[in-house]
Symmetry: C2
Subunit: 363 residues, 2 copies
Amino acid sequence: MARISKKSDIDLVVAARRWKEINKTDRRPTIQDVADLAGVSKKTVSRIINDSPDVNAATRDAVEALIRAIGYRPDPQARGLAAKRSYLVGLITDNPTPQYVVNIQQGILDVIRQTGYELVVHPCDRKSDTFLEDARQFVEVQKLYGVILTPSVSEDERLAEELRGLGCAYIRIASVALDMDSRMIVTNDREGGKEAARHLAQLGHTRIACVTGRRSFRSSTERIAGFEEGLAQYGITMPSHYILAGDYSFESGLALGADLLDLEPPPTAVFAANDEMAAGILQALHVSGHTPPDSLSVVGFDDFETATRVWPRLTTSRTPARKIGQLAAERLFEFHDGDREAPRENETTPELIERDSTRRFSH
Amino acid sequence: MARISKKSDIDLVVAARRWKEINKTDRRPTIQDVADLAGVSKKTVSRIINDSPDVNAATRDAVEALIRAIGYRPDPQARGLAAKRSYLVGLITDNPTPQYVVNIQQGILDVIRQTGYELVVHPCDRKSDTFLEDARQFVEVQKLYGVILTPSVSEDERLAEELRGLGCAYIRIASVALDMDSRMIVTNDREGGKEAARHLAQLGHTRIACVTGRRSFRSSTERIAGFEEGLAQYGITMPSHYILAGDYSFESGLALGADLLDLEPPPTAVFAANDEMAAGILQALHVSGHTPPDSLSVVGFDDFETATRVWPRLTTSRTPARKIGQLAAERLFEFHDGDREAPRENETTPELIERDSTRRFSH
DNA sequence: CTGAAAGCGCTTACAG
DNA sequence: CTGAAAGCGCTTACAG
């Protein structure tokens, strides 16, 4: 034991010194330098940095120690060029909510940091004529290791097909399973909608309205469907004129909030399919001189920062965006490992956060 | 005229067909393919894709047309490996405000889209022991084309020095000029502070307080200094107990908002050095039963989304984040072009947006 | 204005 | 378990 560790220590010191002597021009060491210093071939070093099992354990330990000693880091461009791949993960988004995007980014970075991979961001416009072509070029030219798709691009079947055609690994983040398990992170928005409904029902509300996002957004239809299911458990149904069509924007919440006040009979509570619209509703109430939740309780969805900035602070169903980003990144690595049936976590469930925008219904 | 265009059209059709014939395996064309099809050397094609002036105009036109016809795109890894560079722009941030980060990203992408460059995001923690080392590795291993630094990492002189040492181009976004023109985008926060002061003074306020960010954040000291200068123009000074120390967080605004109410004599207006703290102050007022701006006018800084979500909507000094991102990206390309004395725009000035959180002082 | 040769730093495919 | 040769798709340095 002692002998071995002593021996390798000395070798390392010698190797590190030799490297300093050789490296007059202060360049970074290459795989050739490591091979020469270790007295093995480049191929052996290559096997080691690629975690190939076919390497003698002692050789591996010695070379790994040497790599640390001289600070060798393989060049991602050279590796990529030779292997026709890259060490870049793409994030394709079509989501205007900054808090969501940044949190997803953060979650992905939590996982890929220290792995040598980097995150390349790629917002896009699904309505653009060149959307698919842009995405294809991005993936193909950069030879991306894989891409992570957030709603609503994650719901685009043509994009998924294109990516499969290119052989590009992808993970879709969506409210329901749209694809095989190994390609999905499911956020179970329907469950969040149910929780919101139970909360309002348990507070004694019965005249309950809602504001939806666009029908083409799966998250919105799931949230609203879950909400209606939850209400049904308490024998409550929403009349059709209580269901107002928004578009996830603050502005739509602001506009529809005014309409809510004119509904007959007036609802005592409203569920907005996201926080932005809920914030708009609160503002509409303020504008018209109301003091929510006095006349109207409001529930949102997402629990992004806006939820705690508005007054009263929003009761809302939390979307754990950072966690979702982490799971998506882990899933991407698993996908490459062929770990396709892994029992890993690939779902999140919203959690209802009770704050001040809802209160017990009183006659 | 007609003859030339006809001739080149025919050539292109032939070339594109030949490419389809040759390319049985559906691979992307390489520089060699373009050279063969065009009957020139790789080096000539290389000159053309690199915008070298030393190419015959007719040759250039013909090869460029061919490149479009067969959809050739140079491989960034191969180019990078050969030229010891990359086509990646890094964004190093240390800023917790998602709206700012996303807007800066968007602005950078506005400029680098369609250029073949991609944006790699790199949030960091300046307080970490390995901060400098991490940044160095990132820049060196990825051979970044350049990096854009946002506050407060942009204020870190050690980082700037490190980047200069590595020969990595960088652009610093900061409230004041910390570096040579060609490396700076200046946001003139001081001017925004002044505007905020004038606004409150013109509304008749004289007992005016403020909530600062951390002293180590240059933007905060600039905003507050500008505010005091603006007040001075109206003969107003803030007593020292009117200057409360926050940290740019909503939570600090919430906590200090409560303190504001206990100040003797009570201020009639307050300037918060960012919107997050202003939102916190508004919430503190609501919690304690006030209805701003009745008892207290509040001015923020940034005009991020929060400003329009809160009630009353914030009067605030706008930081044009997307524009700033665009300018920074343009500046980065100019830096590489050696266009170092270019008279290009490299400053932005905040603009005061008047909304509902401020009102005329009435006795 | 144009080109042939060498090389960037790795991996692949093959051999042993 | 290990290695020598060839090649990934470009640019550089040099020559003409």
